[in-house]
Symmetry: C2
Subunit: 388 residues, 2 copies
DNA sequence: TCTAGTGTTCGGTAGCTTAACAAACTCAAC
DNA sequence: GTTGAGTTTGTTAAGCTACCGAACACTAGA
């Protein structure tokens, strides 16, 4: 009966229709007069656009909104069948998959530890993630329209020369392989995006950076990384290596030579815990096993722990100054296993204000979910860009 | 007779006309069929556009181009009366003013030392520059259409708190004052742009970065600064402080505290010459007075000079690595009194490749003229953006 | 004179607009 | 209640701008 039951993936719509579609996806339901006012269109144009978008099964009318006086207006929103996207996070120890509709509503989510029994981490991660995706797609079913985009968040590195299997991280070509192996139709675009960049996007859309179109997300954990958002868009650099602050020269002084990735070696949580073990000479309790334990001890007032945390905060602040001195981001959002700890904030701020100009520093609002959420939101953005 | 002898500053043209105008300005003369092909327009559209643009005195036809066969096509280019712009460079010791037409051809140029006799540098610079502008505008006369934009290149600093007169640089509000005092009609837009940013633009349009849309311009001289171009556009940051690499934490190691602007104190040419004086213990000639003399000595093979230059190159390379680790620019163009010296290049490259991934490093192609040229090209860009 | 280009005229279309009108809803007077 | 006044929503009609394709006229060299 219907000439087009499922919307085509490649659309040929006038600007007005694109604008309406995009607006409904990004800002939720609205009435015709509201859309007309916001987009600068006339009512007759809306009269042409809305039926067309409904015919394509991209928007649907749901309920009505009546004001204080006058005729009540119909409410329009994205149709359930307009489509959905996948966000995939694949880390060394954990895999997550999330499905959202194009208006940002979550449809389904799954998460699993990567079993370390298999031969190597990359292979295990790929297998786990693939299975997870399959289950999730089965759960989503057909009720949400076509799958329009998939973004895989992974700890990518720029100079991706093939190397032997390691246990501390994922291999870049392993990730590419995963992207190719995902159980999705061949015509669905799949990309891999750096996990820190994804987290930055999430904080921009849903978290601590909603009011800033230009900011950086500084992740401090086992490794350190930086996601840069300028005018609402991710910066990638010439080799996809922007934000590789592990490479920042450190130590660097008139008498000391920087080492390759020396900063990561010093600021990573492994080094932090090593310093902790060295410094832990007093008898008030056992040596903290992981950063969480260290921060807990510091929160309890343990003097050695406090000193260690303070020093770490100062160093993170100096790293932030290094970034600020290049970018002047206006806002620095801290994230990652270590960086997201509120206890660091005063020390970081002290370091930045003493070395540079005032810049807002916050802790990310989304915690460890930032990465998947960023991936899925990037997928939404890409799907809408292609659609409109 | 003519209804519009001078083109209006605010135009209401269809997209096709804007495209033609922009193309002629940025890529020089062309025929109708060429323009139609490049811009994706039809011949009837060109038939409407060209007379309209000629009526507005924005383009003119000059000569004809005949191919191997068929009728010869008329050549069109920007009309002489389409307008012109000014680039102004105001430094602590030197002022330059340049006038270009919208297609980038130089109309006139002047340059003068800032006399230091007056009360303070800022005042002297403002006075000198104003006079220079007046003379230049008189020289240009009326034959080049309206003055459409003015860009002043100056060593701006972000946190522009009013301070007492100093002799080492210009005061930010002094520069603002200059922008207001320039002898140009009130309706001509005047902006102040950082001098390093201007130099970056010049290298992008005319110099060493013509093939890269994303790169950085690293200026090393008395001070150090960075201009960032991403996708062909300058980055300014939240406070106009992006590129303030003088603030990069230095010295920074497990045992050393960074000082505010410590890197500039170490990498600036004053510090370089101080180290030179300290190290210059041998008897083979007098102590070099300025960086040029030092580099000359190094070029002659003087061992102490070579060592100093090598060390400086290494440190500049480390600074470049700091920038690369944030931005991954793909190309670093070196400029400034010290940085533009070819002798530094091998040492800088050695440092960057040992600490990070491969990135092209070059010396700027425009020397000390980069700044004015950048200012005038920025003015052209702004004028065209407003016009189209 | 043939051929292959350049430029113009004519008619048509997409994508908007404003103006006028019809439909729907609230409120308040009777 | 009923009824009309006032207000807002949605549709219809007519017109405008900025483009396009097709057909035709106009050079210029072979």
């Amino acid at each position: 009966m219907n000439p087009e039951p499922t919307p085509p993936s490649r659309l040929d719509l006038p600007d007005s229709s694109r604008g309406v579609l995009r607006r409904l996806a990004t800002h939720g339901p609205a009435t015709r007069p509201q859309l007309a006012k916001i987009l600068g269109l006339s009512r007759p144009t809306m009269s042409a656009v809305m039926p067309e978008l409904m015919r394509l099964n991209l928007v649907g009318s749901s309920g009505s909104s009546r004001g204080a006086t006058g005729r009540s207006a119909a409410l329009y929103s994205l149709a359930p069948g307009a489509g959905h996207v996948l966000g995939v996070e694949v880390g060394a120890t954990r895999a997550r998959v999330v499905a959202h509709s194009l208006d940002g509503e979550q449809i389904a989510a799954r998460e699993e530890r990567v079993s370390a029994r298999r031969r190597n981490v990359t292979e295990a991660a790929v297998a786990t993630t693939t299975e997870l995706c399959e289950k999730l797609l089965a759960e989503v079913g057909d009720g949400h329209g076509p799958l329009r985009d998939v973004v895989v968040a992974a700890p990518t590195k720029p100079s991706s020369k093939p190397s032997t299997a390691n246990t501390s991280g994922l291999q870049p070509d392993g990730v590419e392989q995963l992207a190719a192996a995902l159980p999705v139709p061949a015509d669905v675009p799949v990309i891999v995006e750096n996990n820190v960049n994804c987290a930055a996007i999430a904080e921009h859309r849903l978290g601590a950076a909603q009011n800033q179109d230009t900011f950086v997300y500084l992740q401090v954990g086992v490794k350190i990384g930086l996601g840069i958002v300028v005018d609402g868009k991710l910066m990638h650099g010439a080799h996809g290596a922007s934000g590789e602050v592990a490479m920042m020269p450190f130590p660097w002084s008139p008498d000391e030579q920087p080492a390759r990735a020396g900063l990561e070696e010093y600021l990573g949580s492994e080094a932090l815990m090593a310093r902790c073990a060295d410094a832990w000479t007093d008898s008030s309790g056992p040596v903290p096993k992981d950063p969480e334990a260290l921060f807990e001890a510091a929160a309890r007032g343990h003097s050695t722990a406090r000193r260690l945390v303070d020093q770490h905060a100062t160093d993170i602040g100096r790293l932030a100054v290094g970034v600020m001195s290049v970018l002047d981001p206006g806002l620095v959002v801290l994230g990652g296993g270590v960086g997201q700890n509120q206890l660091l904030l005063p020390g970081v701020r002290r370091a930045t204000t003493s070395l540079a100009w005032d810049t807002e520093i916050t802790v990310g609002a989304l915690g460890e979910h930032a990465t998947v959420l960023g991936a899925v939101h990037l997928a939404i953005t890409r799907a809408l860009d292609r659609l409109t």
